[in-house]
Symmetry: C2
Subunit: 177 residues, 2 copies
DNA sequence: TATTGTTATACTCTATAACTATA
DNA sequence: TATAGTTATAGAGTATAACAATA
């Protein structure tokens, strides 16, 4: 996973000539096999938005996990707590639909957050099938801390791709939120 | 998973006013609970590049799988075959490093592709620990077809976010490939 | 009948560790 | 001793199906 070691922290937005390496080439020694990873051409993958997005998503995900490691919160947990915090009383179905999480998966996520006393499931009076979700007092305080760390992570993103590019990215992808 | 049903195929690049919904609001009936998913505010998630990127990645991934369903090829399989096709004789380690795949995982991916007669592992003469990877004749023909379908998928992306935005996206993320 | 939360299953993917055969 | 490929395991995430309680 290249992202861990962190080379190329170029911090910027300067080098934008698509790296379309020649699809065929031979390595340094006598042999015809490029054992040096950077000599390996991507061919059609250059030009696929999905490939670039996947690599970026992996980087961003790992930076988030690393930055919030001290509080042991992962991106999905953060998104669930944020939505509950902003919309107290929401049902599990509503949270699942809003975040695009399977309702079956949300059950386990909430089990974990509830076990950590960050979230509470309260039986709904109006619809006894459903639960009203709330942050606990501790959950509210913790979320404030999580948001600080998440903002720090966001600054890492800014350093990585550049301030203007980050904003442009948010604009381009606004329709998917 | 919102993407399956497909609402908002707005095909474009027009609506870019960040949807910062008010963090608190009540639903239609007398109650105070927004059961309508679109009434639920995202709060801090708006403004996190990672959240938008994750949602976009899910959409793009699913469109790829759908578009290449007839040939039963997933994004990772496609990337592996493309790199082998462009760099015949590559070792497993070189492919794994280049694509950011764990070498342990690549073993299973290659087992599957080799079982389908698309790829062949050939024992290296120079280093008997390693395998030289090649597409079979059938694999080469198949890959051409996969590339056609992947290009079709790429057109879907273009329709979804707009031609200019897609190009800009590739530029912004070029450093991650 | 339909929906909410739940349990269960299967498969993909990430992250490790350990083993073997070579180097 | 280090590396390439392999096997194994654990957890996250996706995708389903089915069930009980309730609507």
């Amino acid at each position: 996973m290249r992202a861990a070691g962190e080379k190329k922290v170029t911090t910027s937005a300067g080098r934008n000539e698509l790296p379309t390496r020649a699809p065929r080439k031979r390595a340094g020694r006598g042999a015809a096999r490029p054992d040096d990873a950077d000599e390996v051409g991507l061919d059609a993958l250059v030009g696929h938005a999905g490939y670039a997005v996947r690599r970026f998503q992996i980087w961003i995900f790992q930076d988030f996990v690393r930055t919030l490691a001290s509080v042991d919160i992962r991106p999905t947990q953060y998104s669930v707590m944020t939505v509950i915090g902003a919309n107290p009383g929401l049902s599990q179905m509503a949270v699942a639909k809003r975040l695009g999480i399977e309702r079956a998966r949300l059950v386990h996520l909430l089990d974990s957050l509830e076990g950590r006393k960050l979230v509470r499931r309260i039986k709904s009076k109006t619809d006894r099938r459903s639960h009203a979700l709330h942050l606990t007092a501790q959950g509210g305080l913790s979320l404030a801390k999580f948001k600080q760390l998440a903002a720090e992570h966001e600054r890492h993103v800014e350093e990585k791709i550049g301030k203007g590019n980050r904003e442009r990215l948010l604009q381009i992808l606004a329709g998917f939120t």
